[in-house]
Symmetry: C2
Subunit: 455 residues, 2 copies
């Protein structure tokens, strides 16, 4: 049997736990959970937060249909809990909690809460898997994309990775890349959803569908204006391809694209041929397994590349595929009790947090992780409210606005932190506040005492 796709993306244990809370009568206890990254992922000095829009839309749409309930009653591990009362509760379920988060495009660091859910224990638990899923992947992609944009030193960067990742992740990667500063994407669905500029002309298959390369170029330019067209020139021999492109568009051509071989040498050779033919405005587009390091090396060597296309390395975050965010309960509001976890290497900060970024002369100087409501000189709090009582309480910013936020955030970072190489430099300073330090000591002491007493 196969059922039509729905949006019931959660781990089973979120449901067994939520049902357990229901039967214990504690499911409406008010709690806070926070989502954060314990350590920066490998090869990253900062993150660019993304995924909030996806999360907020999921929370607003979350429902259990009759088909879901029928199915859940059939799951052996859950069945003992699927009473009539729980089914009624699930049927009426709507996310009714509060969401605080950094705006998308905000630069963030390890240990900093990116998003906080305050609501019933039932709902806060239930949504964990989806939150982690969306934030992990979109933040990983935006963080990688920001590095690529930095390496391109103001040159245009196109996102071409859709074929390298799953269909919906491809769309979200295109969005993450654009918000982090990419110029355009090839992903039509992403363009359709958010009006992200689209880029793309023709592939090797276009050339191969014609008897000769030159015929292929002329056929393309019979349909599309040559000033806007980039011709892919490496199907047979790259420099011969450039010559064919010049012959096909003697009066001017948008660009030529190099997708294989020694990109530095081929870019120089292509530039020489184009300049010689008077096509000084024709841009050279380089693609083919590029990443931030290869782009930096090409530009460092003086390769005359005007536009970079990045695919696989961004779409699969090849150097650092797992962001590793976690989602932990930090406060039990009914008991007015901060919560923490003591496992070795997995300790958490207790209580409801805020991140304060100290900014002087338009430069981010350091971050302070504190409790909600502290005051720090020259610092602005990064977490803001997005939902109250399950409804949006702040308009979702447009993607253009998010992109602007990100540009400002990246520009404010110390230059050392923006570097893409691995040389040891001081990390961006993030410290916990005195208030939080005191709370941590007190809660650790109390927790150890209680565990001792009660076991």
């Amino acid at each position: 049997m196969k059922r039509a796709p729905t949006d019931l993306l959660t781990d089973l244990y979120q449901l067994t736990m939520a049902a357990g809370y229901f039967h214990r009568g504690v499911h409406e206890k008010r709690v806070s959970f926070e989502l954060f990254v314990r350590r920066l992922p490998p090869y990253r000095r900062y993150m660019v937060f993304a995924g909030l829009e996806t999360v907020l839309e999921h929370l607003r749409a979350l429902r259990f249909t009759e088909a879901h309930l029928d199915y859940l009653r059939s799951v052996p591990a859950l069945r003992p809990a699927m009473s009539f009362e729980l089914c009624e509760y699930l049927r009426d379920f709507r996310f009714s909690g509060e969401v605080w988060a950094m705006p998308e495009g905000t630069v963030a660091f390890a240990q900093e809460p990116l998003i906080r859910i305050t609501g019933t224990l039932f709902e806060a638990q239930l949504v964990e898997t989806y939150l982690l899923s969306a934030i992990n992947t979109e933040t990983a992609a935006a963080s990688k994309a920001a590095r690529v944009v930095g390496a391109a030193q103001g040159r245009q960067v196109m996102e071409f990775g859709s074929r390298r990742t799953s269909p919906e992740e491809a769309v979200m990667t295109a969005r993450a890349a654009y918000l982090a500063g990419f110029t355009a994407t090839s992903n039509v669905e992403a363009g359709y959803r958010w009006d992200i500029p689209l880029a793309g002309t023709a592939a090797h298959s276009w050339t191969m569908a014609h008897a000769t390369e030159r015929e292929a170029f002329e056929a393309y330019l019979a349909v599309y204006p040559k000033e806007r067209t980039t011709l892919l020139v490496d199907t047979y021999d790259t420099l011969d391809g450039v010559r064919n492109a010049i012959r096909a568009a003697p009066g001017g051509l948008g660009g030529v694209r190099l997708d294989s071989g020694d990109l530095d040498a081929l870019a120089r050779g292509s530039r020489a041929l184009l300049d010689e033919a008077g096509l000084k405005d024709t841009r050279i587009v380089a693609t083919g397994d590029l990443n931030e390091h290869k782009i930096a090396a090409l530009l460092g060597a003086g390769a005359p590349v005007d536009v970079f296309g990045v695919g696989t390395e961004l779409a699969r975050c090849v150097d650092s595929p797992n962001l590793g965010a976690v989602y932990k309960m930090v406060h039990d509001h009914d008991a007015d009790r901060p919560v923490l976890k003591l496992s070795e290497g997995k300790a958490t900060l207790p209580g409801v947090h805020q991140v304060y970024r100290v900014i002087r002369d338009d430069r981010a100087r350091r971050d302070i992780i504190g409790t909600q409501g502290e005051f720090h000189v020259d610092a602005e709090p990064l977490l803001v409210p997005w939902m109250k009582d399950g409804a949006l309480c702040r308009p979702l910013p447009s993607l253009a606005a998010i992109r602007k936020t990100c540009r400002h955030q990246l520009a404010a970072l110390p230059e050392d932190v923006r570097r893409i190489d691995d040389t040891a430099t001081a990390p961006y300073p993030v410290a916990t506040s005195d208030v939080l330090n005191d709370l941590l000591v007190e809660v650790q002491r109390r927790s150890r005492e209680e565990q001792g007493e009660l076991q």
Copy 2:
């Protein structure tokens, strides 16, 4: 402006090319494209083909809505081609081609066509991005999963990675893992869609939501039967956790789960405590950044682990995140002309292919990549037809049937090829047939001549 999600997942250049073919009057030329992997991805000796069901559903549903057409008319790079006639053509567009592919769960190797599309140049070009997107990600996941299953030597393996990848990819990963031999998944949506067995009980947050660990365990067992329950024991101290589990379920317990620390030592310590308490049937579940190598090491050392849970390493295919499949035109049927690409390192095999697997004594001996319709002794062709004229011509196998196919395929592989380590052993033999070799020589010669003549 933001538009509601649709399924227009393609690269812009598929549309610009398809529109170009339309205006050149060659869009209904009949061609074949094949999808294959040039070289096995790093750390892989074979692949498990997956993603066909996703592809076939996409092809059956592919439509251009009025909203799509409005949008496409607004895209600068496409606008010159969006004539009234093309809009009419897109409005009526249905995928009408033929699809041959290996059944999902088939073991495959580099250069072997996994799927072949024969249809109009327009439609065959248009669907490239989606095909690559789905096959790349699902085949990568199934290929990784098969290694994990092999390393577990018959012990149960659970897929727990949903939080580590994007929502829809998480669902497809759960399916890929199950078809490759995993026992269960935590992903409720995957269970809902395909009746994949679900696994999961409680997380650290359940324990932290109670005053003590023991209270948390007792609360869980008040709702769920203890014989079916696995208690997570590492929130505070793992072996103390096991003791608390034993106290909470003195008569018997499904399992205990270890999620951090030295899993070998903790599994032995837990086993000793459980046995001492008479809980010999209580299973030990190990989780926490596991992969095939760690599982093999634990079992090699004799760690008494009964069930493994794998998350991140599978969900992000951490060791080999990019399968790198490509999709190339291989035949122009109107001209009865095999097509090939000559780029350095990116050469393709011309013509319409079939893969013949030589099987003797239930063992796969070698594969032959030939042309469609050859005969080879003891060999069976792997590609079969799935769609004709845009309609299914073969029922989609159930996921259970696919899983069985995969089990048989893996069992038939030479043991060396199934090894997960990196020691150099002979790769599985894959050769091109004499007929194909002759064709390749002829087409290369003709292609070089024509390029020479025509340029």
